[in-house]
Subunit: 386 residues, 4 copies
């Protein structure tokens, strides 16, 4: 018998206690590719709940307070390498700041923050501290989303003309937040916890990021309106926008959490001068490539070739991968970057599609522009992307 | 041996000579349910071509001039009952006027006319003359489109909140009109023949009409822009719009003739408080019904029950019907109405979903509003629907 | 005004009175491409019903007896050129014989006859009389079915290895024939009217023919069993078979009329050494081409190139054609062949995919082999195809 | 800071060294739900390779020999609780025997063994030792497969009449085993390593098990043939069979590894007197429920209710789960059973859908019957299921 040498990164978590959805997802995702070991957490602001949640999740060190956790962990020899932040939005910035200040890498859920100023400050801090700041735009972890980006980048679609992106759900079609039984619905519709953007921030930013990620383009202007369908709701539950791109392309984006029958229908279509493509998050093992005047090709995960997709795939074609694998991909890339940063090496090329704090800032600029345009009855607003 | 008594209506046609697409479609559609016999035509402004086209189509009486045809046919005992107008758009109004003046029923392709004033005059004239004026918004002839309308009308979706309609094609993604070999592309991109709206008029109006037909609602305001992607093209080849409805619903519409890979992708999705539905013209034998929080049901032509769908279906479920049958449905309804009008009877209830000159006027109002909003950089414009 | 010269062929019909499904289908199909005019009929053995049915269908000359009709029509200067036989199966042979003897071309529904001997006699007679004998295997009229055949014929799939064909319906899942209200169910489950094969003859032969048509191969042996699920039913309602082909290919075929939820699910998949293909009759505007190790291509009607598909298509891609158009294609090809036969010309090359009496004989051989194998507990039986 | 108490089970692995596919899958699956920690392995019979593979996989204790491993681990206080056996088939029985003898629970890949005698001996031994013997029929871990079983079990389909199951792949369409570069192809086509059944054992048994699992029925007789398409191959690469069930139901099964274009196309359709259902492994987040005469319902993972599906699902509807999650489910159920066995408790009800050594024995009986029938030219053979 001989000894193995594999070293897992030590991960902490803030938020994600019992009843949360995204905390459990982060835990599975971090574990799936065996790059991280979850060893510490401040899973709830309620100490009892924090401890119970940690025990249930098999986390060795449970803290009642994330500030204490940041300080304690940085002081330990075996302290965490990185922290996963899965709190309601309003805490993203303060928590991330605390851990960055402590020199700890950050993996943070989106949206990045509740204001652009907060987000820009985080970006600045992450750069100063030279720490990883990964933002978990899950859908950019899908191998075929990355392959789609490659196709466009390599010119297979020609010049992009039309972008259509949408994200439809129905889980907020009724005022379920008033019942007090759905923790998700509670904080996501409360502006003091979620920030000024409801559906817009929760899923609109995913749609925006997906389109930007795949096309490699960001719109320079938009005309938009947010809307609240459910009576008494304090935040938007629907957003629609028209987009203009620097190269003359046109686009539309809509996101809705009142679209009856929709589960998690994030869909992107891009049309270029030579071909189009279509991706549906609910069928992530296929990507449609549609040449001008020709027959649609159904590209499948595992059968598309190239290093980009291969880096993000685990099992052969026909063995479906899903949401958790896409999420795991972000953690895998994060691990590669953390190891490089800690060793003073350049970030590995294959990890560079990981979404970062800058994507988060772009998302906040999008939110600002949408809210401003909506307030101005749909007037076109510039989006300044540096 | 005994004698049958069936009487087919006599149909004439203006336009639709060799090389035209829609003329042949009208001829099949008129024939399919055996209600019409095509007996006269002025298929081309070129007399030779008119004659050759008529011979090829088996039309007994060929005219070189449609004015002459209107006069000659109305003078005959066995003159045509109705005329099908399948010319380029700019001729719709003058031709329709001539035949209405001659007391002949009209079946006209869309868009109704090249200006709202023209369209309104036609509507007035048709009413004065008490003649049928059917406008061939083909897609409203599909049984499942009519069933979708029923579902909404009966409240199965609840209050409508979101409308998403789109119509994508790719056949004009390149400047094929400059080659001079594609007759369709030639006139449809020439504002002097097609009117001021290109893609907007050609397919945008179909999308608009489909949404209005199914939801039973028309937006009262829109923000839009038209765009021309192909260099040198004299007319729009892309349109996108945001819609507001009197009941607070929101919507989006886009149509593009440069969407690489798209064939004839007219799709409608409607979301209400109780359920949603989705229809894709390229798969017209199915309609998706998606209850809030529930499982999608794939309703199929032939299996959905009710008089509305039954009236528009010919063969059992699983035996696909298509575009020609939908088109034939308009002719079937037109026949029912012509027979009623000629007999002084009320229009049969089952025929009342036939699209008419009023739908054409609504389409022209939509065109006007889109062009005005687009010219005003997307400012919201009212659509006045009486 | 000038006169057109188009000459429609005169068609008669035997069977297809009120309540029948397939008679109406033949009438639409014959009319759709404007090659035939239906002028005479013996639509029912009940004279009253025959007359009423003919009047409803707009048929000029109604006969109470098909023998009388054959004699009377052949005696007229303007007698019918061809007869469509849409009776219950047991009458196919006697009716066809009468009309062939009268020198009249025949378009006959499948299965060809109720015994192989009958079928072979018909084939012989048709040849002797040099009359057209078209058998309406509808599904071979689909443009993409013909294109599939072309692809295989041109070697695009390589050597064929595996054939999977199936035809599932559910309309006979319950003993509806006992109610006496469904005319279709009545005769199709009565061996004295339908012949010895129920589901096997009704839809099994379609599946068999489709596979043979597309692959260009017929099995030389099969192992099969027929089964009756519905208690009291006097005929099979399910059939399953394994197939062996001369080149070593293997195959399976099943057909069922008790497959709950299935509408008209005729599906063919063929796998060769280089690629596979898949066709689903319920989605006839698409054909899947699946290269070995590669991405599936969705070929669409109108976009696939080549004379074969073009000859069988009417409208552009994205404008769905369906069952009636496929059926019309058989009539169109029949018209081309009748004109050639009457003129003593060679049959036009583009018409040669029309299914004929020989396909009917092949179908009867298949029925015989299935019944023999089933009776011998699935023993492999040779199918002799000359 | 407080201490967590979670205890992961200690897992060992035999087989699954570098270049293997299924070893990595087992490792992810075991890890995903955080029930197991992989601490020991004999990943290859080549000691160097074993050590390198273990290091790469982060396995603490690497053994050169699985016999040594069984003895050493059972002797340790912190020895493994269970072993995952992912070797070529011929080793399943000897390895499993060694670990069972050592009192260690077994998770084994399928097929269970290379002969029925071996398999039955294993079943006996597992029972004697009162150890878990889980067989990884992955596809029974899908929540919607389990839900399908529930639907049938609860009578939603009525009496089952027709079963159609198939499993198509194309990766062995060419003689890739001769190149020596594909380790998978090498052993899977070598009867001395894979046993007498090729495609039949590799994927045919999955198809058989899936049908049995969902329907709750096993056929009592079959008529089958195996076939080898690729010249020079020493084992079958295609199998087809007809099935008879005790209740009179009929079925067909085919599996092929030469089906060009197919990836991992395992599909099951079941038709009962009241409804049918369809499942496609490549789209595991949906299950089609098709009532007799009605509209198909698309049931989705996360939206179907009931404890059975809930126990096997991790994320909300619309967030696709896939193959790895299905596989993880087996490990999760195995953990539940191991904990119960070790504590002397009854197996938890929710874990009882875990596939076991008995399913493996059933698979070997199926293999035997297929091979016997095939050798007897398709004669029907009884399958004795106790």
């Amino acid at each position: 018998m001989q000894q193995g040498t594999h070293r897992r990164l030590r991960l902490g978590m803030v938020g994600g206690g019992q009843g949360a959805f995204i905390g459990a997802v982060h835990r599975i995702a971090a574990r799936l590719d065996d790059r991280f070991e979850l060893v510490a957490g401040a899973l709830s602001s309620d100490p009892q709940r924090a401890q119970a949640s940690a025990a249930e999740a098999g986390i060795a060190r449970s803290y009642a307070d994330w500030r204490e956790m940041a300080l304690a962990e940085t002081a330990r020899d075996d302290g965490i390498d990185a922290v996963a932040i899965v709190t309601p939005n309003y805490l993203h910035a303060p928590v991330a700041t605390a851990f960055l200040e402590a020199g700890i890498h950050v993996v943070c859920d989106k949206p990045l923050a509740v204001s652009l100023a907060e987000g820009e400050a985080l970006a600045k801090l992450a750069r100063e501290k030279n720490r990883l700041f990964a933002l978990t735009h899950t859908y950019s972890g899908y191998p075929l989303v990355r392959h789609a980006r490659e196709l466009i980048n390599e010119g297979e679609l020609g010049e992009i003309r039309v972008v259509q992106v949408e994200y439809a759900q129905d889980w907020l079609a009724e005022p379920i937040e008033t019942a007090g039984t759905n923790k998700q619905a509670g904080w996501r519709t409360d502006p003091s916890l979620a920030g000024p953007a409801g559906c817009l921030g929760d899923i609109g930013t995913h749609a925006y990021q997906l389109a930007a990620f795949v096309t490699g383009m960001m719109p320079h202007a938009l005309s938009a309106e947010v809307h609240t369908f459910v009576a008494g709701r304090r935040i938007d539950d629907h957003v629609q926008a028209m987009l203009r791109y620097p190269n003359g392309a046109r686009g539309m984006l809509w996101a809705s959490q009142v679209a009856s029958g929709a589960e998690n229908a994030l869909r992107l279509r891009v049309y270029g001068t030579k071909a189009g493509l279509a991706f549906d998050q609910e069928h992530p093992n296929e990507l449609w490539f549609t040449p001008l005047g020709g027959s649609a090709e159904r590209l499948t995960r595992g059968r598309v070739t190239g290093a980009v997709a291969a880096h993000a795939t685990r099992v052969p074609p026909g063995h479906p991968e899903g949401y958790l694998e896409a999420f795991a991909q972000l953690y895998k890339d994060a691990a590669l970057q953390i190891e490089a940063l800690d060793a003073g090496r350049a970030l590995p090329a294959e990890s560079l599609l990981l979404t970062t704090v800058d994507d988060g800032v772009a998302g906040l600029r999008f939110i600002d522009a949408v809210l401003a345009s909506s307030a101005a009855d749909g007037q076109w607003r510039a989006i300044i992307n540096d």
